[in-house]
């Protein structure tokens, strides 16, 4: 069959345009995921997903157990929140999140016992509706960073216009290795999870897409397909070129299927659903144990971290507790990032809780990243060459200055996913991503006025 290499691993259908070669810096790729000791307290914000925030269902002073429901809402685009430690609710109030926004949060002081909540048992799943209900109940949101409630995506199924399930294991951001570790340590859950989703939701095929800088993961998953999925010919591994941002939704869909998601449309419009690899493995674990999303793996790395690690952390643990578990700082931290260095958010302090969708904590000493002096644009066109969405950032900067909304729309401003390739490559050191955000706000403002 076309596109197959000898061992059945697929090759990308289309090599997309643009992208940048950033240093991989996967320093923690051989660090097994370790559990950290129970923290003294956890802070569980009610906004840990894209969509409507949850409302606390507990009161200050309540005793809670691990896996007990803490917050929920009846809004569709949302995901329930569960206690990640057992103990006592000591406060309910506003906290600041990594991205600077405020959210209501439940603080639980741990008793250190980690007593499991009674009544946790595997959900009964017999059809697609059961599965989607179970995914909603598990509290799962996209674990790759977006935090989009998983049941909303999967709820589109069964659907005859959607044929392909893509499992995103590209992990194209530098430093982060938790998805790789998930593939290496829980490959059985990954493959079984894919098979389950395919079986109940009626996808014609499922493709697990991995960047080709992780040959061991590709080999292991490929072996596991044969052993665990009965050699299902419609579940396959695809090796993609290691190029940032290979893991971006539209880029990945194009690489895997050759289809292009039109501006303003969703993956489902071209017949695809994309899931993060850790999310899929979690679904399988949930179906087997009934234990909701109360912990996650996170990469802790960077030049200021004493012992970089991959850590399994109860949701809501403060960043400082996690960093302390990794030996604390070996150098004065200059910048701490929640997420990867290309798209992650720099935080103002470490006294913030880890959310469901946070996949990395990176702390850097001063001088790790060279800061370029900002100069005038020389029109070299590198930003346009690397843009995976075929945009021309410098043109958009000009339209933004002129506040020309029609031209901004024509130039595809809203298609920008803020991957940061343009800023990365700009020899003049221009903050092009910030310009793109400004351009988007100009369009939104004009829309609001109408």
């Amino acid at each position: 069959m076309k596109g197959y290499s000898a061992n059945g691993v697929l090759k990308a259908v289309v090599k997309g345009r643009g992208g940048v070669s950033v240093s991989h810096s996967k320093n923690t790729e051989n660090c097994k995921i370790v559990r950290m000791p129970v923290p003294e307290k956890v802070v569980l914000p009610m906004q840990q997903h894209i969509g409507a925030p949850c409302e606390p269902v507990v009161k200050v002073g309540d005793e809670v157990k691990v896996g007990q429901l803490i917050g929920d809402t009846d809004k569709f685009v949302s995901a329930p929140i569960y206690a990640s430690v057992s103990g006592k609710v000591t406060a309910i109030g506003d906290v600041k999140l990594a991205n600077g926004s405020m959210s209501k949060a439940v603080t639980i002081e741990s008793d250190g016992e980690m007593t499991m909540c009674e009544g946790i048992e595997p959900p009964k799943v017999e059809n697609a509706a059961d599965l989607i209900k179970a995914v909603r109940a598990s509290g799962l949101v996209g674990l790759g960073g977006a935090g989009f409630p998983a049941h909303v995506k999967l709820g589109l199924m069964p659907n005859e216009n959607i044929d392909t399930l893509i499992i995103n294991a590209a992990e194209c951001e530098p430093y982060i290795t938790v998805d790789y570790r998930e593939c290496m340590e829980n490959s059985a859950n990954v493959i079984k999870g894919v098979a389950t989703l395919k079986k109940y939701l009626g996808f014609k095929r499922a493709v697990i897409a991995v960047e080709d800088n992780k040959p061991q993961a590709i080999e292991l998953l490929n072996k596991q397909i044969k052993e665990l999925a009965g050699g299902d010919p419609d579940i396959s591994i695809m090796a993609l070129v290691s190029k940032y941002p290979q893991g971006a939704e539209k880029v990945m869909i194009q690489s895997v299927t050759g289809r292009k998601v039109p501006p303003g449309k969703l993956p489902s419009d071209v017949g695809c659903v994309l899931m993060n690899v850790a999310s899929v493995a979690f679904i399988q674990r949930y179906l087997e144990t009934g234990k909701p999303l109360i912990s996650r793996s996170v990469t802790v790395d960077g030049s200021a971290i004493h012992t970089p690690k991959n850590v399994r952390v109860p949701i809501g643990t403060s960043l400082s507790d996690i960093i302390d578990f990794c030996g604390g700082f070996k150098a004065e931290p200059f910048k701490i990032i929640s997420g990867g260095p290309m798209m992650g958010a720099a935080v103002v302090g470490t006294d913030i809780p880890l959310l469901k969708q946070n996949n990395a904590i990176l702390a850097f000493a001063e001088g790790t990243f060279k800061v370029k002096p900002e100069r005038d644009c020389i029109r070299c066109g590198r930003c346009a060459q690397v843009c995976p969405m075929s945009l021309m950032p410098t043109l958009i900067v000009r339209h933004t200055k002129a506040k020309d909304v029609a031209k901004l729309n024509d130039a595809g401003t809203m298609v920008c996913m803020e991957c940061g390739s343009c800023s990365y490559v700009c020899p003049a050191g221009l903050p092009l991503v910030q310009h793109m955000r400004l351009a988007k706000s100009v369009i939104r403002e004009a829309g609001a006025k109408k």
Binding site: S320, P333, A346, V347, F369, R375, M389, P427, V433
Partner: protein
Amino acid sequence: MSVNKKLTVSASPHVRSPHTVTGIMLDVIIALIPSLIAAVVIFGYRVLMVTLVCVGSAVLAEYLSRKVMKRHQTISDLSAVVTGLLLAFNLPVSIPLWIAALGSIIAIVVVKQMFGGIGQNFVNPALAARIILLMSFPSAMANWATDSKFITTTATPLASITRPTEIITSFVGETEELPSLLDMFLGLHGGCFGEVCSLALIAGGIYLVVRKVISPAIPLAYIGTVAVLMLIAGIGDFEFVAYQLLGGGLLLGAIFMATDYTTCPVSFKGKIIFGIGCGIITTVIRLFGSLPEGVSFSIILMNLLVPHIEKLTTAKPFGTPKVDKKAEKAAKKAEKEAAKV
């Protein structure tokens, strides 16, 4: 452990590539050095003097004009050095030094800074200055006199081989004999001192392509177009084509001037159109114009067209559905007919 010192918070991305404007300009300067060395060997030390005057006055002009206009200093980006070097390369070795200095001042102050500085000029500063000098001091700019021991003929060979009929019949005219093709390749002939040594220019061009400073699209489209058109004009005479490619400022222009970021299109398609356009104009001027040389004019003329080329060739945003032109036309027709009824 909590953090005591204040953390730096900035927008993503937090990593940046090592490329800088200064680094790019430094690469261009490195790429020009072989030609400078070749020129010194061929024409003697006056080359260095002219170059120093051009570069020095370009940098000084940039410094002073930024100061007068109360704008931030930009001389450290080295772009003025590149402009000075390129202008110098477009001058004959015998040029009076004050004319060279005047050229640099025109390039930097009038063409570059008055339009907003780096990235804003609409034509190549060095080329525009060269043309102004050519118009103002025609005899000084065409004085190919040199005491070089390598060169026997003083006229630039292009002056004698522009018209194909002449080349086919015999090489007669103001020169006694044309230099051999090898001499043409090595630069042992008259002309502006930076454009004679094809070997050094090509070496510089390869360096720029390897360092990814320039894309080979423009030089190849440009030189390729000239080659094809000259082959047609010379009725299949390859020797004539070779003289055309190696003579005059074609290589210097195609590799170093037409590829100037500010004044060439960004997209690949645009670059190809730009290169072909330069090639056509160069050929037409060389064959039919009264000037022996057409490179400067062709690049300047194409510089002016860049905004239009850009408009035509800018890529559509990812996933934009392809417009079916036939269907669109049919729809318009139907609309018109409906309006008539």
